[in-house]
């Protein structure tokens, strides 16, 4: 048995799960657009202010999307017994968990990358360095979802884990957030882009083991 096929199947299953959640891509797009639209109401609509906080708001929306999406992922697996079957597979549960997390990022986090140009425009972000912005949202979102996945796995057996996941994950979001924001400002040449990539890689390296251990624990 090759080891890639379980992971690929897990990825596909999670993809169709995320997609089935409701209305495909319209939903995350609407979500990002909607949360962003709330901002002027809460902080006021002065152009100068909005352009200063605009990108920051998108980062918060991205963090929010990761909490909201991941809350149920592993908890549902635990409740419906799918986790039991996964845990007994030869393929490591860590890789499965990462595959699932990535699938959810692709559906719920990646759309922000696509929307970045539009939002950059509406929220007065600079239009100059779109590629940078998109890369930053991509890498940053990936990191958010990976750490969020760890938090979700850790709280899988807690009945209502929403706030808990947020609280656990927040500290781990900070580096990606800081470097992401700076990358948007400094462009690809700056050191911050390097650091952002490094923190994404680091998350990719560390989170699988953590998720796997947490899920084994949850199944026990």
């Amino acid at each position: 048995m090759t080891s890639s096929s379980p992971i690929l199947s897990a990825f596909k299953q999670a993809l169709s799960e995320a997609w089935a959640g409701g209305a495909g891509l319209m939903l995350p797009l609407g979500f990002f657009a909607g949360t962003t639209a709330l901002v002027p109401f809460s902080v006021g609509s002065e152009a100068e202010l909005l352009s200063r906080i605009g990108p920051g708001v998108l980062w918060l929306a991205l963090a929010l999307a990761s909490f909201v999406t991941l809350e149920r992922v592993f908890q549902a697996d635990l409740e419906d017994g799918a986790l039991d079957i996964w845990v007994q597979e030869d393929a490591s549960i860590s890789m499965i968990a990462v595959a699932k997390t990535l699938a959810h990022w692709l559906i719920s986090g990646f759309p922000l990358v696509l929307l970045a140009p539009v939002f950059a425009f509406i929220l007065q972000g600079s239009m100059q360095d779109l590629l940078t912005t998109m890369l930053a949202y991509g890498l940053g979102g990936l990191t958010f979802f990976l750490w969020g996945g760890v938090a979700a796995a850790l709280s899988a057996s807690v009945a209502r884990a929403g706030l808990l996941i947020a609280l656990i994950a927040l500290p781990f979001y900070v580096p990606a957030l800081i470097f992401g924001v700076q990358t948007v400002n400094d462009g690809l040449e700056g050191a911050s882009f390097l650091f952002l990539s490094a923190s994404a890689l680091f998350a990719l390296g560390v989170t699988p083991a953590a998720m796997g251990a947490a899920l084994r624990l949850a199944a026990d």
Partner: protein, 191 residues
């Protein structure tokens, strides 16, 4: 552990809360054997079965398994958005099995609701889908937790026959059961 011993649990023990559920339970299954776990509600059958499956770490003792096994627990392991067909296809792919999914669906008498999302299925249909996983790949050991639950009489006969065939082919089954068993046990372990 000899060649034909598929699983061996020695001196197993479980503690829950401040209660010792069971201790010093030893059991092993060789190929061709049916072992039934018996006991009152809450006596620890599920707990023991999960230890045997490697899902739960024994508080005492150790488990050795030979090869891989199938698991059907109290819960069915179906995702709400899956259909019976997509569920079986998914696991077939994970296990690298090339069994015909249509064949399995037919065998479980699930052809008609094969494309209905699992959250809409009846309790027995969900159970049949989960039991269908047993047919996807040949694994000699089956660990089943009250597998007859929710099945209608046809379904119970069907499952009993599946188990019999599996045993004849050199497989082994460890199952937790209540009441009169539709299959004859080689050994019963009472908790």
């Amino acid at each position: 552990m000899s060649e034909s011993v598929l699983i061996q649990g020695a001196h197993l023990g479980a503690v829950r809360g401040e209660r010792i559920l069971f201790s010093e339970v030893s059991l092993s299954a060789v190929s061709g054997e049916i072992i039934l776990l018996r006991g009152k509600n809450g006596s620890g059958k599920t707990t023991l079965l999960r230890q045997l499956a490697g899902l739960s770490e024994p508080q005492a003792g150790r488990v050795e398994r030979q090869g891989r096994h199938h698991w059907v627990g109290h819960t069915n392991g179906l995702k709400a958005h899956e259909t019976p067909r997509s569920h079986l296809e998914h696991w077939a792919k994970v296990w690298g099995s090339n069994k015909s999914i249509d064949g399995v669906l037919e065998q479980m008498a699930m052809t008609r609701p094969a494309d209905v999302p699992c959250r809409m299925l009846s309790a027995g249909q969900k159970r049949r889908t989960a039991l269908g996983r047993l047919l996807l790949e040949n694994r000699r050991l089956w660990l089943l937790d009250e597998p007859f639950n929710a099945l209608d009489t046809d379904g119970q006969t069907l499952l009993a026959n599946l188990i019999k065939t599996h045993i004849q082919n050199g497989g082994s089954v460890i199952a937790a059961l209540h009441g009169a068993a539709s299959v004859e046990a080689d050994r019963e372990v009472t908790l």
